[in-house]
């Protein structure tokens, strides 16, 4: 009897060990590094150095802005596409596969792909020149055009990572029994009312999952930004990388890592509170 009760824990043990070794330990390690001074004593000196750096305010602002712009666009797009998919009689899987192709591409490759389009000798400039809209090559991705650079990152991120939201939402939509829609239709709800009164509330758990996942990943946005803008568009993860490898300062890099973690945790907590699903309304 005791053996049977212990079995689930035994089976879980390897993954727990794996997590502890490869996740919790490095995490604790990063905390230690971030909070220790030059002599190894407890200190906030790394955080002070991080905050006093010229790029810090920009990095925080850019990262928050990216999250605030990219995540809502992705959610809205995925909801729209999901509803469209749901109203298809056939070919649904085909569309879903095509739309999820960007998921299979690494974010670095995605960045390079968009760089090829947006660089001064890229497809966008060729197209604009062919249409006679620009004289010569225009520099889109430079520190002199921060807005264009920001928008380029937004577009690339939306292109690259909307599919994961879509997949989560479509899976959630398929769990909503079609009788609910039929009942709503019979009792007078039009298409928009059905979306608002049935789809949205019943999709809440999926929306929550998708938002948490996407927001955490958006706070860590790195490769696409580095490829498109280098440090012309500073972001938190980029700064952590620069301090670690350019300045060889693991302390400040760790401080950035701790900051990203804290912001991500705060966002997750916020989603869990705001999108709470009442226990009793789950049938």
């Amino acid at each position: 009897m005791t053996g049977e009760r212990a079995l689930p824990y035994l089976l879980l043990a390897p993954s727990l060990l794996f997590l502890a070794l490869l996740f919790l330990w490095p995490l604790a390690e990063a905390f230690l590094v971030a909070f220790s001074g030059p002599g190894g004593q407890w200190s906030l000196v790394n955080f002070r150095e991080m905050a006093e750096d010229l790029n810090f305010a920009d990095a925080v602002r850019n990262t928050l802005l990216l999250v605030a712009v990219v995540v809502p666009i992705q959610l809205a797009l995925a909801l729209g596409l999901g509803v469209l998919l749901g109203s298809l009689d056939r070919g649904r899987d085909g569309f879903l596969y095509i739309w999820t192709i960007p998921l299979g591409i690494s974010d670095l490759a995605a960045g390079i792909l968009w760089l090829a389009m947006l660089s001064e000798r890229g497809y966008l400039n060729s197209l604009l020149a062919a249409l006679g809209l620009v004289e010569g090559p225009v520099l889109w991705l430079s520190y002199e055009t921060p807005l264009a650079l920001f928008l380029a990152v937004v577009v690339a991120e939306v292109w690259r990572a909307t599919a994961i939201v879509l997949v989560i939402l479509v899976a959630g939509m398929q769990l909503i029994p079609k009788e609910y829609y039929e009942a709503a239709e019979v009792f007078g709800a039009g298409a928009f009312q059905r979306f608002r009164r049935i789809t949205l509330p019943l999709l809440k758990p999926s929306i929550q999952t998708a938002l948490i996942l996407r927001t955490i990943l958006a706070f860590e946005v790195f490769a696409v930004v580095v490829v498109l803008g280098g440090r012309d568009l500073p972001v938190l993860a980029g700064e952590a990388f620069a301090w670690q490898y350019d300045y060889r300062n693991a302390g400040v890099a760790s401080a950035y890592a701790v900051l990203i973690l804290t912001v991500s945790l705060a966002a997750t907590w916020l989603y869990l509170r705001l999108l709470r699903v009442r226990e009793e309304s789950l049938a």
Binding site: E185, V186, F187, G188, A189, L202, S281
Partner: protein, 351 residues
């Protein structure tokens, strides 16, 4: 309140013909049950009337208005679904008022009053603030019925509303539904595969088979005078007995050694007789003679299965009859309950 007219409705799903050409009329305030085995097209017909399915051809009228081109929400109907389809993210009150709010019917005060009225009708007024996930299956179905009645529809459509409930609850809800719907006098179409449910609720039953209505009549008339072999076999438990009869003279028919009067026309017919319309025959009387195979004492009566010239015959008799397997039993059909069928067309022949 309105009558429903369905004319020449045809519906196919790919190669499967769900409805061949269905025409029926439900009178104002009438309770009609669509009864048939699964796959007979009864649910499809209901969904076409509701507007959840589009017919290949034909017309649907509610009242004097043609509705087959209208979406469900413009048809002035309400529906109760087999698995309730009450919204889990809304309270009982929000569920009941859903239709009223969607159709913007009346002030907040009026909506509250209507919801109260509907909830009291189905006895869930004490549960209004609960979420439907906290309710039992029976209570959820009450919410579904209240939600439907609250919009005071011209037509109420019910798709096997009791089939997900356990047997005892089903019996209770059936009686209650009958009372409630009588009170509301709404024109109702009710789909079920349960003949007892159909018999107990319906003003008229439409027996459906293979995408067609085989008979559309009052429960007792269908029971007494089935229009087809299928109707006789589907209604009644156990079903009607069918015995092959040969003509010996015009109007005289023979089953084994038993002779009886029947229709003047035809050479071979099937005699349909219900198990309870057979009586033990006296000695020397002409009778159907069979050997008792199985005896089932059911309390209220006794059910015996007899073997008669290689065919099975069911007989329902007095619970006190001293019958045992192996006994020889002599039975006489009640002359006024004989029904004749043509084995070719499978339709009833008037005698």
């Amino acid at each position: 309140m309105a009558r429903i007219l369905v004319e020449d409705i045809k519906k196919t799903f790919g190669k499967f013909v769900a409805l061949k050409s269905v025409t029926m009329e439900v009178a104002d305030g009438e309770f009609t049950v669509l009864l048939g085995p699964s796959g007979c097209g009864k649910t499809t017909l209901l969904r076409i009337i509701a507007g959840l399915e589009t017919a290949d051809r034909g017309e649907v009228r509610i009242g004097e208005r043609r509705v087959d081109h209208l979406p469900p929400r413009s048809r002035n109907i309400a529906m109760v679904f087999q698995n309730y389809a009450v919204f889990p993210h809304m309270t009982v009150f929000e569920n009941i008022t859903f239709g009223l709010r969607m159709q913007k019917r009346g002030s907040e005060e009026e909506i509250r009053r209507t919801a109260r009225w509907a909830a009291e009708l189905v006895h869930i007024e004490s549960q209004l603030d609960k979420y439907t996930g906290q309710l039992s299956g029976g209570q959820r179905q009450r919410v579904a019925v209240a939600r439907a009645l609250a919009v005071r529809p011209q037509v109420l459509l019910m798709d096997e509303p009791l089939s997900n409930l356990d047997a005892l609850l089903r019996l209770e809800m059936r009686a209650e539904l009958k009372t409630i719907l009588r009170e509301c006098a709404t024109t109702t179409i009710y789909v079920t595969h349960d003949q007892v449910e159909a018999m107990s609720l319906a003003d008229r039953i439409a027996i459906m088979h293979g995408g067609e209505i085989e008979q559309y009549d009052t429960p007792l008339e269908i029971y007494r005078n089935p229009a087809t072999l299928f109707c006789g076999g589907f209604i009644g438990s156990p079903p009607m007995n069918f015995l092959e009869a040969e003509a010996v003279a015009p109007g005289r028919w023979r089953i084994g050694d038993f002779e009886l009067a029947g229709p003047a026309e035809g050479a071979r017919l099937l005699l349909g007789i219900r198990p309870e319309d057979l009586e033990p025959a006296g000695e020397g009387e002409p009778a159907l003679v069979g050997t008792v195979q199985v005896v089932e004492p059911l309390g209220s009566h006794l059910l015996a299965t007899l073997r008669l010239d290689g065919r099975l015959l069911r007989f329902a008799g007095d619970a006190d009859l001293p019958l045992r397997p192996g006994d020889t039993l002599r039975l006489r059909p009640r002359a006024d309950r004989l029904r004749w069928f043509d084995p070719e067309s499978e339709r009833a022949v008037r005698s």
